[in-house]
Symmetry: C2
Subunit: 545 residues, 2 copies
């Protein structure tokens, strides 16, 4: 943040030196209303209280500087008659060459020259390029302030064609037609079933991922369930009783709330694809997200159905209410020992970040198995049973398993590998992005790190030279409970860019409290399904001269 | 084993072709007594029942072939008058150039030409070169059979000087003077305190490591404790009672027996030293061993003293009865949650492989903490207490922690890293050895693999080309219980040597059931104490033309 702050201030100083006198005159002429008060802005960022004052100052400078720098252009625009643009026209303006346009309500803005001054970084504003700002502003409440709207007003170039506000029509013959509307920031890897991840620069903007951009991994169409008639069937133990639980029944169990990171086994699969083709969705670094989950403990519900821990190995099988055209439901299982262990904190969750579960995330009830691969966190939960064997579901027995790089589709024996439960230690760089150009002087590197099984991340090492030398990143985010480190740590490193360096090979690797580390390279962990991709994450950037 | 068998048979066939007729005549002339019966040998190897018959045949061929091959030399030796050799003379014969001599009782043998025919492999016989066979034969009961002694008799060259049977005198001023006598197979890294590891080819010869060659990691002189007066002091909980337990008292708790692998945090440190100097003993691959441990469960003993699991984090602190000249005892701690968890199976062990603990391994009582670094398995246990903080011992707070490669002795902050408890996934190659020449055709590669925290080893990948391509090794040893995989897996791979290959870069890497893997290289996990050295293990060998 400091680096950005410094860079912005520097540019503003330059702008002020060049144009200070005429700018002030034009501010008055161009401002939409009189409430624009550059002396009293309040651009604050949550989660960083210690630097609030700094941000206030920066907001001031930013509001001022942006206006100073580009007042000529703006003045011209405001003085001309109102243009009407179609949605298509707007959507074709997504680069510095074409101009970068966005909409808010019915208004169209050309923010080309503001992009580099955006306090959250240029890349975040670019996510909205060619489309509406609302979905992004909804995520980041900092924008809903008058001075931000006033600042934006300076860039208005016209109005949106009124016909373009109509919602898209629904194809009713499509089994996915009833899927919910998704946030446009999501990078879609598959529409049917819907699979999408947040862009990296949004992913680590918040310790808790906002629901609308939480990564979504669906295997089937999203069921549309009525919460009033919803029932969870729990098969009773011999001598116990089967349960048919309404949502109210579930709410009557003691409520537990925990912060848990979910990660898809296929996260970072795209890096494996670069080694050799694999079967699977091309997840980048975003198939991971963190939420506060609340619900009943699975162990309490199982106990009410008469289940208890037994000496012989057993498994708790989950079935979703999502199903394919043959009626086969999504299914998965976890060992009974984990399910019955109060310390493992397995939840039947009905809340995600204080809200009822969104439909994409299992409304009304999903399983949350802290420390375990996403595939076992069965959504739209319909049935729970205890079996001597693992779930016979395809996704338990013929998917989500790891193999040697030597195994291909001709030789694979799915029974020879255990189903993935706990995941290995993982980390990735979310800023800067691969191929980006960074300022010389100092570079800020951000990312996430997490490990399975409740193992806490104890250190993240970052290298600027491809792994020859290392620096220790600062860990942010909540402190972790011993043995229950269910959630990720965000991290960052501010490092001087070695003088004269034209490129940087940035690498990160994390260590968990079992002192497990990430492997150096992808090829030796390559597997035909492209799962468990946890090699060092590498980003190559250029340094601006 | 098959490969070795084949190689021996091949050589024997060659020998038979060359010398079959005159040899048979000389066997009669040279044999020491008439009980030599090449038709009925019984050279069997425990732990491999299925191939007993094969070994019998091989024993026959071996006994026969060895005699056939070298009868001329032996005949000459037996016909000459008895020579007397000093211990020093024997100890100077340890190579093919000088001749390879061993002793058994008062007899001296020149086994130079038998070495390559040794059924257990030449390297194992070479461990005894220049000294007595007894310590090795004591480990491997297979040798205690008449036909083996008769075979050996063929190589007798004389008698040992009677004066050389006197035991070495004890230096009483040395605080280590009372340390026990150790097995000569151990590779000593430090005499005072005694630290030693078994050679790799013995290490994986047995799933259960024989007590005399179990790796020994002492921090201080070995106390000599009287089992009759021994007391274990357990500090009681508030409202509970402190205990002073005799060995008999400990035996009165329910007895549990489990197979647990212990590994020193410094295992394979010598590979880190090759990257950059570290502080620590130069352990090779042998600071790891496996035994059956029996004793009382720590949770039962703590419960009797009134302890129970509490919400706030607490630690069980152990003190040894070994101490330095200032009276400071060895100490370490583990989290109370692990100590009180019956599933974690923490023992106060008084038996090791069915015997009272050897003195080097903590007689009469040590802690065994399955899945956790060796340093917490406190030996010669004197005192147990529950504290709100970790042990203040040097070995808990200022040692046995991992750091980034960037941290040196000027910058290290020991408080910044957690004490090592669970260890990461590990594997190493024990055969062939680095620099060895292997036969063309097929190579047999053997090793061990283990992971901390009860995580089972699910796969070992082996490469002959430095990690470009991989093959899956066969896992031997006991099946592992879920979540309680406390013991290693031995593994082997028989692989064809690619035709025309003159050298092999053999690599192994293991995967545990959390799908943790070993890192590719040592440098990025280098740390100033040289602990946690678990990169791929690499062995470079030559292929005989």
């Amino acid at each position: 943040m400091l680096l950005l702050h410094r860079a912005v201030v520097l540019r503003l100083e330059q702008a002020c030196r060049l144009k200070s006198i005429p700018s002030r005159i034009c501010i008055q002429a161009c401002s939409i209303n009189d409430s624009f008060q550059p002396q009293r802005p309040s651009l604050t960022f949550s989660g960083d209280n210690s630097s609030t004052q700094g941000w206030r100052v920066m907001g001031t400078l930013l509001g001022l500087g942006a206006v100073l720098a580009y007042q000529d252009h703006r003045c011209r625009a405001a003085q001309e008659s109102t243009h009407i643009y179609t949605k298509e026209e707007v959507s074709s303006h997504t680069s510095p060459e074409t101009g970068i346009w966005v909409t808010l309500g019915s208004e169209v803005f050309d923010v080309t020259e503001f992009v580099d001054l955006h306090p959250g970084g240029p890349s975040k504003l670019m996510l909205a390029a060619g489309g509406p700002l609302e979905p992004f502003w909804a995520l980041y409440a900092v924008h809903n302030q008058s001075h931000v709207r006033e600042l934006l007003a300076q860039y208005k170039i016209g109005e949106l064609n009124p016909e373009d506000k109509v919602a898209p029509t629904v194809e009713t013959s499509d089994p996915y037609a009833d899927d919910p509307v998704r946030h446009p920031a999501l990078k879609v890897n598959s529409q049917r079933p819907f699979n999408a991840e947040p862009p990296p620069e949004l992913l680590t903007e918040n310790y808790i991922t906002p629901n609308p951009i939480f990564f979504t991994r669906n295997h089937l169409p999203v069921p549309n369930l009525d919460p009033d008639t919803y029932r969870l069937h729990v098969v009773g133990a011999p001598g116990g009783q089967s349960l048919s639980l309404s949502l109210d029944d579930l709410h009557n169990f003691p409520k537990y709330e925990i912060t848990v990171t979910l990660q898809c086994a296929g996260n970072r699969r795209s890096e494996m694809t670069q080694v050799k083709e694999v079967k699977g969705l091309e997840w980048r670094t975003g198939a991971i997200s963190t939420a506060r989950w609340a619900g009943a403990r699975l162990c309490d519900v199982l106990a009410q159905a008469g289940h208890q821990l037994c000496e012989t190995e057993a498994h708790v099988c989950f079935e979703g209410l999502d199903s394919d055209p043959t009626g086969t439901a999504y299914g998965a299982s976890i060992p009974l020992a984990r399910a019955m262990d109060p310390e493992a904190e397995v939840l039947l969750a009905y809340e995600m970040n204080g809200q009822p579960l969104p439909r994409d995330h299992g409304f009304p009830v999903r399983v949350v198995v802290p420390g375990v691969v996403g595939a076992r966190h069965v959504k739209w939960l319909g049935r729970v049973s205890v079996q001597p064997e693992e779930s016979y579901s395809h996704w338990q027995r013929r998917d989500y398993k790891g193999f040697s790089p030597s195994v291909d589709w001709d030789t694979v024996d799915f029974d020879s590998a255990p189903s993935i439960q706990e995941l290995p230690v993982q980390s990735a760089i979310t800023e800067p992005r691969d191929g980006e150009t960074v300022e010389s002087g100092e570079v800020t590197i951000k990312g996430y790190a997490w490990s399975g099984g409740g193992r806490a991340v104890i250190r993240v090492d970052v290298s600027l030279d491809g792994g020859l030398t290392w620096q220790v990143a600062k860990l942010d985010g909540e402190e972790q409970r011993p043995r229950k480190a269910w959630a990720w740590r965000l991290w960052q490193l501010k490092a001087p860019v070695p003088a004269g360096q034209k490129e940087l090979n940035i690498v990160c690797k994390a260590v968990d409290d079992g002192y497990n580390v990430q492997p150096d390279t992808v090829a030796p962990i390559w597997n035909l399904r492209g799962v468990l991709s946890n090699a060092w994450h590498r980003v190559h950037v250029y340094v601006s001269p």
